[in-house]
Amino acid sequence: MISLTSPIETRAHRWPAGLKLGLLCLVTFGLFFVDSVLFHGVFLVFVVALYALPGMRFFKNGWKHLKILWPFVFIVVAWHLFTDELPLGLTVAFRMISAVGLANLVTMTTRLSDMIDVVHWLTRPLQRLGFNPRVLELAIALVIRMTPVLVSKGQSLTLAWRARSNRRSGWRIILPFTVLALDDADHVAEALKARGGLTNQERK
């Protein structure tokens, strides 16, 4: 599975993931305490500049991830034009683009393995409460492995439906799809047990 990390190596790729995530939380939290439209405008320019630094290809890639925001930006600005509070509307819109933009920047510059290390670190306090981190790691690996498997099974189901009917399958396809997933889950559970299970690992 392809992660959303940008293949274009930036300087930020080498920064510790925990630091980036911590900064992101602090900055985003801080953005909600400032109400000046000028500040948010300047900050947005700064965020756009961050996207532009690693070059054109990185910029375009990042742009694609932010496209989901435009309908909301449009609604916010239109709403505030209507209520005659344009500065407030622009503040909200700028802040939203900056916050999502920064978060997306962290995703684009942090490798999956680094992120998993952070998750590992975050769950450390839970281990004292009897939480087994290997269970979480196994579950993550299972999802990454099984999602493409299920997608291809879903596609074969859709094809099988099309071969038999000229109408669209609609929601009915979800029933056999879910049943397939449940059967897979049973098989995976048996396979895990056959290989010694999870309780064995705990004692090591």
Binding site: I68, V100, T110, T147, G170, W171, I174, A185
Partner: protein, 186 residues
């Protein structure tokens, strides 16, 4: 233990896969994102705890940068945007849905699942989603709620579908309906 992990992981994968298969269109042309249907099914089939854990696992993978949400979306940005509240509400939504199915055992599974999906999958999810929107957009709760009314009919249809599917799965794979097992083997 192994069964729990396998079911939780497979359901997380199922929700992801539901977002990646071609869009499902209802009879009268309303496209539905099957993922929120997946959240409802998580609750009705896996029950409260496992359902919520499956959704949490999916969100964790989305947060660390895997494109598992509808249309190949993912990354931290989704949690900081307008829809962030909905994502935070997802696990709680699955939990409430599952809890209702677990506790209310007298009714028919179809009816119980539809009601559970409406309470958990619509009421709880909208509550979180609307609060999230109100914070990000600086609107009042009611103004944000007004923006969402257009989606309610589609979601009610989804809840009914979730109920029908749960009943069908209860027939096809009775042993897999963990929400209604006598006592969960953990």
């Amino acid at each position: 233990m192994e069964k729990n992990i396998a079911y939780i992981a497979l359901f997380a994968a199922l929700i992801a896969a539901l977002g990646l298969i071609p869009k499902i269109t209802l009879g009268f042309g309303v496209p539905i994102t099957a993922q929120s249907l997946g959240i409802m099914l998580c609750g009705t089939i896996l029950g409260a705890k496992r359902g919520a854990l499956a959704v949490l696992l999916l969100l964790l993978l989305v947060a660390i940068g895997l494109p598992l949400l509808a249309g190949g979306r993912g990354g931290l940005g989704l949690f900081f945007g307008v829809t962030g509240g909905f994502l935070i509400g997802w696990p709680i939504s699955a939990y409430v849905t599952g809890l209702i199915v677990e506790k209310w055992r007298s009714g028919s599974i179809t009816l119980v699942s539809v009601v559970a999906s409406i309470v958990g999958g619509i009421f709880v999810m909208y509550l979180f989603g609307i609060v999230g929107m109100a914070i990000v957009l600086e609107k009042t709760f009611l103004e944000s709620a007004a923006l969402m009314t257009a989606f309610i009919p589609g979601d009610i249809i989804k809840a009914i579908i979730a109920g029908l599917l749960t009943a069908a799965i209860a027939k096809a794979r009775p042993a897999s309906l963990l929400s209604r097992q006598a006592k969960a083997t953990s």
